[in-house]
Amino acid sequence: MQRIDIGEVSLEISIAGDGRPLLFLHGGDYFVQNRAFLDRLAQRWRVFAPRHPGFGATERPDGFRTVHDLAYFYLDMIKQQGLDDAVLVGASFGGWIALEMCVRSIERVGRLVLIDTLGVKFGAREERDIADIYALPTDELLRRTFFDPQRWVPDYRQLSDEEVTAIARDREATALYGWRPYMHNPSLRQWLHRVRAPALVLWGDNDGIVRPDYGERLCRALPDARFATIRQAGHYPQIERPDEVADAIEGFAGAEVKR
């Protein structure tokens, strides 16, 4: 990971590959498990993979309190880095940030990919669209998160102090941004018509955090979106099925798509 300065913020980021720019916005947890997916993407694109401000090794910047702050921050970032006609890929919490960016500006976004994204409220007030990850017993949470939890949940006892602290900071920041209203912005749904970039909505067939029917509703709420599921994958299909997800993204955004 290297660092680049965006305004006052020192951003942890890995940049790899050549080609059209692709910005990947990660979810709230299991950051390092995205590696295989990012390596695969870097064979085709120039991949920008930051760890969000307040996550990982970075203290949360003063004044960063909501997902709106992250959205404006990344809009600044893609401008500063000269990303143009970019493929914007957001997974889970990162998909929420991507949506918040796109309702503000799609000027530099050529294609949008949303993977098991949250951030929007569809159901009634007593319906839970997004599983309460803070209230589920650990075993159930892991079963809902991964198709194959045994394979993907790390043995935390084997990790260094630095690594476990970074994971704890990821979770703390996710809680800060997503605690209440829970993992969504009540106003976001009414502005989804502004997300005019062509979008691909990908969903893990076995996602027990945000079910595939939520993804279908999200897809219908976007002006130009298509929906596909990934078999044998939970909430993080790009971790469990990196090649399938990368194939789908390539199929969708791989062609020359200068608008």
Binding site: T138, L141, D161, V164, I167, A168, W179
Partner: protein
């Protein structure tokens, strides 16, 4: 030395039906309002009796739990503000980082202070981690919210020239104007429970009295010492009355009777920590470094090691015996002489303190036994506390 009687108003009839969690997720169908009413009244009677016994009164609050049916600490305070005439009333306390409206807290405390004619002491608590879920407050900015609420409440209670404006990080009011103003000037004494030297220093900087519980023989001295040092450093006058220690106390005419009472009160310690592990350490409640270490422990390990024997070994609170609790300094039990001797040894060990928070009722200890416990303490132990020098 001031003594305060504390009870959590436990709804123990539900306990036999609980297993893995006594908190957060347990259904309220387990609470029978008729049984609950009897329990509330008997606990209130015990507190009211304290007015005659010369023992002050301490309440607290927890939420969604059968271990503490006092979900609004100012409600028993309000009843007792009128029912008692002499003793002081402490809420330790109000979870101001979890209450959405600090102005309402200022109003409750001010009104209580006036009705009681200046007998209120105000506790502000950050709250144990499993209070986050019932309140649905953001654990990742609890500390900032707590201190902003603290500042706002104090300003609201001490401003008497009409409305002021507050546009902070967490709270927003354009017209703060609390009526009534409190009886005690500038405001009732302030308390905060703490569990670490760093929290003790935060309290010392502000002149708040600290209360510690479950810190025992091993963890109490560094906390008290940190407070004394910080108070000296910032030039706050240091008196023993800035320090309070909570102990479970069972006193009897015989050692056996005192220990039997303590054993029943100890069911408080045996049950109150039983919480489904996912509520034990919400993200951001502890520092990233602490939570990182907790990730390495088995589920629920976050609060392990809080209860320690005199030689620093962890004690499982679920199975703690009276002898272990006495050894650990968490409990004083036996005859009045036994209790006084244990208290004196502890007092000397930690360098003195000015308040004894006495859990004189807990668990299944009956009304009659509680009355006997409090009365005997008042008659045989209380008069001797002057010997300790505070």
């Amino acid at each position: 030395m001031k003594v305060w009687h504390f009870s959590e108003m436990a709804y123990h009839p539900a306990w036999p039906e609980l297993r893995d969690s006594y908190r957060v997720v347990i259904p309220s169908r387990l609470f029978d309002p008729k049984v609950g009413a009897d329990l509330y009244h008997r606990y209130l009677d015990e507190w009211a009796l304290c007015d005659e016994l010369g023992i002050n009164i301490m309440t607290n609050e927890h939420h969604a739990t059968a271990t503490c049916a006092d979900s609004v600490c100012t409600i028993p305070m309000a009843i007792l503000a009128r029912e008692t005439k002499k003793v002081r009333l402490l809420a330790l306390g109000m979870p101001i980082g979890n209450r959405n409206d600090p102005i309402r807290v200022a109003e409750e405390y001010s009104m209580l202070d006036v009705i009681s004619r200046g007998r209120i002491e105000m506790g502000f608590v950050k709250g144990v981690p499993f209070e986050i879920s019932p309140a649905n407050t953001n654990p990742a900015d609890l500390v900032g919210r707590f201190w902003e609420a603290h500042d706002l409440i104090l300003k609201a209670m001490t401003s008497h020239d009409g409305p002021f404006n507050w546009e902070g990080t967490h709270f927003h009011y354009r017209s703060v104007n609390v009526w009534p103003r409190p009886w005690q000037q500038p405001h009732p004494p302030l308390w905060m429970p703490v569990g670490s030297p760093s929290s003790a220093m935060e309290a010392a900087e502000r002149g708040m009295t600290i209360g510690v519980l479950n810190t025992g023989w091993v963890r109490t001295p560094p906390i008290f010492e940190a407070y004394r040092q910080k108070a000296a450093e910032v030039g706050r006058p240091m008196t023993p009355h800035r320090l309070a220690y909570m102990a479970l106390i069972g006193v009897g005419d015989t050692r056996e009777e005192g220990e039997r009472r303590a054993d029943q009160i100890l069911d408080y310690s045996r049950t109150s920590g039983i919480v489904a592990p996912q509520f034990m350490n919400p993200p951001g409640y502890a520092s990233a470094a602490q939570s990182g270490q907790a990730l390495r422990m088995s589920a629920g390990g976050f609060r392990a090691g809080r209860i320690q024997s005199r030689d620093g070994c962890p004690i499982d609170p679920r199975r703690m015996t009276v002898a272990e609790a006495v050894d650990a300094g968490l409990c004083f039990a036996g005859t009045p002489d036994d209790v006084f001797a244990q208290l004196r040894a502890f007092y000397d060990h930690v360098g003195g303190f000015g308040h004894l928070l006495m859990m004189g009722q807990g668990g299944l200890l009956s009304h009659e036994e509680t009355v006997a416990n409090l009365s005997l303490f008042s008659r045989e132990v209380l008069p001797r506390l002057g010997e300790l020098g505070t």
